[in-house]
Amino acid sequence: MDLNLENVAIRLDGMPLIAPFSLDVPAGAIVTLMGPSGSGKSSLLAYIAGDLEPPLEGQGRILLDGAPIDDVAPESRHIGRLFQDDLLFPHLTVGENLMFGLARGPRGEREALMRAALGLAELEGFENRPPHTLSGGQRSRIALFRALLARPAAMLLDEPFAKLDAELKRSMRAYVYAHLKERNIPTLLVTHDREDAPAGGLVLRIGRNGEVKHD
């Protein structure tokens, strides 16, 4: 299971934002893409996820496990995402949020999976709580497990730690990366914070002219 980008580029109103580049994210690897805000890194993730909107446009091929997914609808790409905001659904409870992306099946099984995830998130007994009663760190953990329960073939992280305070940031990073690696999910992380990059991982940087280079 790996994520391949072939000659992928992003344009804004026809002007190149990110120059064509290719990238292989192997299973279990977390590749970091750095760049200042406005450099097009979030747009790149949107392109991979399939919901880039005009005036932005992307080009190049995206392959999951060798199969091109360019023509696949966003909901069928099996690409999970985490954002700056946890984006928990306010009208659903914590448990319902977790089950939101969980594949259909017998109710009992799905609830067991949800409880197991709550356990991993160290939030046992929280399933009936509305999301707004949770702390920032708790919400981030639910957002992570909500994405993981959907069994993504790849993950895209868009500055998921930017809004957390310094201490929480450190512990969340370790926590998220450990769970992603454990599940062997190829992950692309975009950030402007060098410290977000996992130790030993590949780090790329978007240059001034839009070229993507090794850091």
Binding site: D51, E53, L56, E75, F100
Partner: protein, 535 residues
């Protein structure tokens, strides 16, 4: 600070309304006479049928249209379009639609032909289908407008756009996101507008008189005729009829709330069943919107032709001759139009001020009392409330005064403004506030710099609705003015009572123009400027 929002609202709106209601309901209700009325039960059934069918169909239509248009280029123009639809007064729309579909109407002239009109059962059909069509066509734009006021707001748009992306990455198709993420969040914010649409549909009189069934008519029409009667005993039967309709509606509303509560496990199961790749079909919504626009354009065209039409018998597609007299009559006496405009500006500004002051200073938990009062003000027969208001104002020497006229308009304008504004305003993300206050901003500066710009679409939408409501007030204005003042609707209704179609059309158009401009202005100045990616 807490009390500042309460005092003006209480003095200018709540107390007069409450006293009017007490005065209205303390009249002698003639219950036995009501039970003996042979049209009571069929009339009640018709009222409930038209109100409920009108609500369900207009909500469905509004959702289908908003879902189809949202996130596409026409979304930015949807507010202007629905605003233009909204501006046409209900009565004017019913008259125009009636002339389209009735046996001697334009549609029959186009497709049936012949020397005499076909004997169609269209317009005033006994099942209330034409009335329901009329209600749906008028209420759908209102619901679209209130949804737009919510969805176009910067903070809501941002949150929903994020949830949209997130939900789709979790495997949900666009339709599934609409049904499972957006609708459950939008609908509760629309509770009051939906209640209004329902109560309005069940209690409508003016449109029902033009296009509704006649034998039996809906209960509201029966009660209206009785309340209007010169005989006090018959007024009593009308009061009982109005009360009975109100009680039945309240009982059904309670049952509906109970049913929603009981069905909650089912709806929760639906929400969390898991991903589904259902994609939103946009074509039906777009087609519906286009069809609606077509009907409105046809209605407007018919009204314009009618306003200058001389004798126009079947099967001619155009009148035998044209005459400008009706327009001349409007232009010859501009005082009522000016009075209406002045009142509309004054009451809309006051209502917005009162609503903002209330929401800013009173806790959200108190909203339901104001909301309930507003629904009562809008849902009960206007004749009933206006009658109570009239007796109240009479006691305070306010009849025949400008102040009385202002207060009478404000009662209904504030109710609508509050209902349109409350949902979007209360949904304002308090985090903006904490962030901004963290930045050392005063309350007033925060409101002007951050909150007002973000809430602009909602404020403008509520203002436009209030303006239109003020322009359309007839019954209370007629009573309170006591012949000392005249407004555009008063002029329109009295002149139209003779059945002169040209005059009716002229005043319908004249009544539509100022609100039309208000809605277009609101849509233009409140248009979304945030570039989000949606799909």
């Amino acid at each position: 600070m807490k009390r500042t929002g309460l005092a003006p609202l209480a003095v200018l709106w709540a107390l007069p309304l409450a006293a009017s209601l007490v005065a209205a309901f303390s009249g002698p209700a003639a219950w036995p006479a009501l039970w003996q009325h042979p049209q009571l039960w069929p009339g009640l059934a018709l009222s409930l049928w038209t109100g409920t069918a009108g609500l369900i169909l207009s909500l469905a239509a509004a959702l289908v249209i908003v879902a189809a248009v949202h996130g596409t280029a026409p979304w930015r123009r949807l507010a202007s379009v629905s605003g233009a639809f909204l501006a046409l007064p209900h009565l004017a729309f019913a008259i125009g639609l009636g002339f389209l579909i009735m046996p001697a109407g334009l549609v029959a002239r186009l497709i049936a032909g012949g020397s005499a009109p076909p004997q169609w059962i269209a317009a005033q059909d006994p099942y209330g289908i034409s009335l329901i069509a009329c209600l749906v066509l008028k209420e759908t734009p209102f619901l679209i407008w209130t949804m737009w006021a919510l969805l176009a707001r910067g903070d809501v748009a941002t949150a929903l756009a994020g949830q949209w992306r997130s939900a789709r990455s979790l495997g949900h198709g666009s339709l599934s996101v609409w049904l499972r993420v957006w609708m459950p969040q939008i609908l509760p914010r629309l509770a009051e507008p939906l209640a209004i649409v329902w109560v309005y549909g069940a209690g409508v009189v003016d449109m029902a008189l033009v296009i509704g069934p006649t034998q039996p008519p809906p209960l509201a029409v029966i009660a209206f005729a009785d309340l209007n009667h010169a005989d006090q005993a018959i007024n009593g039967r009308g009061l009982a009829g109005a009360l009975f309709l109100t009680l039945v509606l309240a009982a059904i509303a309670c049952l509906a709330l109970l049913a929603i509560r009981l069905l909650r496990p089912l709806s929760r199961a639906f929400l969390t069943r898991g991903p589904s790749p259902m994609t939103l079909p946009r074509a039906p919504g777009m087609a519906l919107l286009a069809a609606m626009a077509l009907v409105y354009a046809a209605v407007l065209t018919v009204l314009v032709i009618m306003s200058v039409a001389g004798h126009w018998p079947y099967p001619q597609l155009l009148p035998e001759h044209f005459k400008p007299e009706a327009w001349q009559q409007l232009i010859a006496a501009p005082a009522p139009a000016l009075a209406s405009l002045l009142l509309a500006f004054a009451t809309t500004a006051s209502a917005l001020g009162l609503a903002i002051l209330w929401i800013e200073t009173a806790g959200e938990s108190l909203d339901r009392f104001v909301g309930f009062a507003a629904i009562a003000a809008l849902g009960l027969p206007a004749l009933l409330i206006a009658g109570g208001q009239y007796r109240l104002f009479l006691a305070f020497g306010l009849t025949g005064t400008a102040a009385g006229l202002y207060l009478a308009h404000l009662t209904f304008v504030f109710a609508y403004v509050f209902i349109v504004l409350k949902g979007p305003y209360r949904a304002f993300d308090p985090r903006f506030r904490s962030v901004a206050l963290g930045l050392d901003t005063t309350r007033a500066r925060f409101w002007l710099r951050i909150k007002a710009p973000l809430l602009k679409p909602a404020l403008l939408a509520a203002g436009a609705v209030g303006f239109a409501v003020s322009m359309a007030q007839y019954v209370p204005a007629q009573l309170i003015a006591a012949g000392r003042y005249s407004t555009l609707p008063m002029e329109a209704v009295t002149l139209a009572s003779g059945g002169n179609r040209a005059l009716t059309a002229v005043f319908a158009l004249a009544l539509a123009l100022p609100p039309g401009l208000a809605f277009l202005a609101a849509a233009w100045f409140g248009r979304p400027r945030w570039g989000h990616s949606w799909t």
